[in-house]
């Protein structure tokens, strides 16, 4: 793996204002709050966390599908958060997204040919025959048969639809792909197919993935590095090996202990967190996790911990990291 940084995200922040009306200034949801990480070329970085922790929002911010409130997204040396719209459109083909729900991510009125070929529309130098050839090649790459060319999305199964979504993204020849829980709507057997497809495509096309997921088994299978997110902030970021062998943040430990394992006889010490995830409308002061942290001490509720390097490549945001 080369160590060239393809994407560098710094202090990325998105606040949504909800409930604003004429007489009410509304409340602020801190969906993503100061997230920083970088992605190497050819790497898969997984973003894990519970529902509503802001991981999907982070994915959309990285692609500038929604504008950030603050922060920078540097893609190959350019800050795309501040790029003018016309320049951004030229960069768009470089970064693509695969969505979670294969039912709402395909326009029901378009055929396979139109869905996959949509991205080629902005390349007028291609002839009709070339376009068709590219679409058919891409269909073969993702495992769709040529006779599917003129069909509509409703004629496909969930797994096939997800392949369609993958094909639509990859025909753009992207360098960076944000995969927003691409497997969570699929059956387990189909998940395996799509995971292997994604892994193969990454190898063949030299892609970098920002892989958003809450399924730790898949994350362990596919990632190079893993970032753990809680309530809009990164809690821990490390290589897969480091993180699974020795999680340093209590939240990571709790999260991993909750994942089912297939190993027989491996006794697990499950850490049951009490209470619910606090609302991002009014996140707790200090460390966001302190209200549920089994190891919280007094200072955790006062001071927000910095996201700092504990060991080479191992970032943690905790005042009292484990195994310290």
């Amino acid at each position: 793996m080369s160590l060239k940084t393809i994407l560098k995200v710094e202090d990325l922040t998105k606040y949504f204002v909800v409930g604003r009306s004429l007489f009410n200034s509304g409340e602020v949801v801190k969906a993503v709050d100061g997230v920083s990480f970088s992605l190497m070329q050819g790497e898969t970085l997984s973003l894990v966390g519970e529902s509503g922790c802001g991981k999907s929002t982070t994915g959309r911010l990285v692609l500038r599908l929604i504008p950030p409130t603050r922060g920078t997204v540097i893609y190959q040396g350019q800050d795309i958060a501040k790029l003018p719209a016309d320049k951004m459109r030229k960069l768009r083909s470089d970064m693509q997204i695969i969505f979670q729900d294969p039912w709402s991510s395909l326009n029901p009125r378009m055929t396979v040919k139109e869905i996959i070929g949509e991205g080629l529309r902005r390349q007028p130098e291609l002839s009709r025959a070339q376009r068709k050839k590219m679409v058919l090649e891409m269909m073969e790459t993702v495992g769709l048969r040529p006779e599917h060319y003129d069909r509509h999305p409703h004629e496909f199964s969930g797994g096939q639809r997800q392949r369609l979504g993958v094909a639509r993204a990859l025909i753009m020849r992207p360098k960076l792909v944000v995969a927003d829980e691409p497997l969570s709507a699929l059956d387990v057997s189909v998940q395996a197919q799509v995971v292997n497809l994604l892994a193969r495509l990454k190898r063949d096309l030299g892609l970098s993935y920002l892989f958003i997921s809450h399924d730790l088994a898949i994350v362990e299978h596919i990632s190079d590095r893993i970032a753990v997110m809680y309530l809009g902030k990164l809690m821990e970021l490390a290589s897969k090996r480091q993180l699974f062998a020795q999680p340093r943040h209590p939240y990571t430990q709790a999260l991993f202990s909750a994942a089912p394992t297939t190993e027989v006889g491996r006794e697990k010490n499950r850490i049951i967190l009490s209470g619910d995830v606090p609302s991002p409308l009014n996140p707790p002061k200090g460390c966001r996790f302190h209200t549920r942290c089994p190891l919280a001490q007094e200072d955790c509720g006062q001071l927000e911990p910095e996201f700092k390097l504990l060991a080479p490549g191992h970032w943690v945001a905790c005042h009292h990291p484990l195994n310290d």
Binding site: S105, R109, R122
Partner: protein, 273 residues
């Protein structure tokens, strides 16, 4: 799928038959009419229906049957074009408002609410009073009156569609707003639009009749169902049959569009699938 369902809906089929007959009537008016609808015959004023004048004659001795046949042209013309105007304006306004959102959306929709708060006929009369009564102004006035309904429906659909992931995917590919609206959003809001359009056709026929009845519709002597009825009103005590036929024509046409509208709603409503 859609056609199969629709063809199995007996009520909708009755509506389709009624509308088709209406359209044929308008198209073949010169063939179907037995007299010139404008020819005045002083010798045969206000006659009861007879073999020669099937629906009788009016106070100028004009053949009511022929006038009703020709009247379908104006009624259909006005309802069709006013609904087209309303659909066009409503789609443009609703799509822009819903897609871009923000204060513009608020402003536009409040204006639409304001238009809707007037009774339809009153507003149409007001607009016609300003523009002056003629055929194209009636189309325009009714078009404006019915625009808010379309704008609301389109805006509602756009609001939910623009959050769909296929719209985000299109954005990620680098497509612009106009392409996304025309390619991804509008094709997916046709179902409610079709239903609204059919229902509005019925309203528009009724509204045109009312305007003509009040003397603001098609200028006489051209026959429209509304002004035939309006003329007949003065002679209701002497010759009640004069009011029956134009009234019946209006009722049938409105019924036809309403039946088709209801059937389309049943067929197109995804919750019933």
């Amino acid at each position: 799928m859609f056609w199969k369902k629709f063809l199995h809906n007996p009520i909708g089929m009755i509506g389709v038959v009624v509308i088709t007959l209406n359209i044929l009537m308008a198209a073949f008016a010169p063939v179907l009419a037995t007299h010139n609808p404008l020819t005045i015959n002083v010798a045969q004023q206000s006659e009861e229906p007879s073999a020669q004048h099937w629906f009788g004659t009016d106070e100028f001795g004009r053949d009511i049957y022929s006038r009703v046949i020709y009247g379908s042209r104006i009624s259909l013309y006005i309802s069709l074009f006013s609904v087209l105007v309303a659909t066009f304006l409503g789609v443009a306004i609703g799509a822009t408002s819903g897609y871009y959102g923000g204060w513009m959306d608020n402003l536009i929709m409040r204006v639409m609410d304001a238009i809707m708060s007037f009774p339809a006929i009153l507003l149409a009369i007001g607009i016609l009073a300003v523009l002056g009564p003629n055929l194209s102004n009636v189309v325009l006035a009714l078009g404006i009156v019915y625009t808010p309904r379309f704008a609301r429906i389109v805006r509602g659909s756009v609001l939910s569609l623009k959050e769909k992931e296929f719209v985000e995917a299109s954005k990620a590919i680098g497509n612009g707003d106009a392409y996304i609206i025309f390619r991804h959003i509008l094709p997916n809001c046709t179902a409610p639009l079709i239903v609204q359009a059919t229902a509005s056709l019925a309203y528009a026929i009724l509204a045109e009749s009312m305007l003509s009845f009040l003397g603001l519709g098609a200028p006489p002597p051209a026959p429209s169902w509304g002004n035939i009825l309006s003329d007949a009103r003065n002679f209701m005590m002497d010759n009640a049959m004069m009011t029956v036929f134009p009234g019946l024509a209006i009722t049938l046409a409105v019924l036809g569009f309403n039946l088709v509208g209801d059937a389309l709603r049943d067929v197109l409503d995804p919750r019933l699938k």
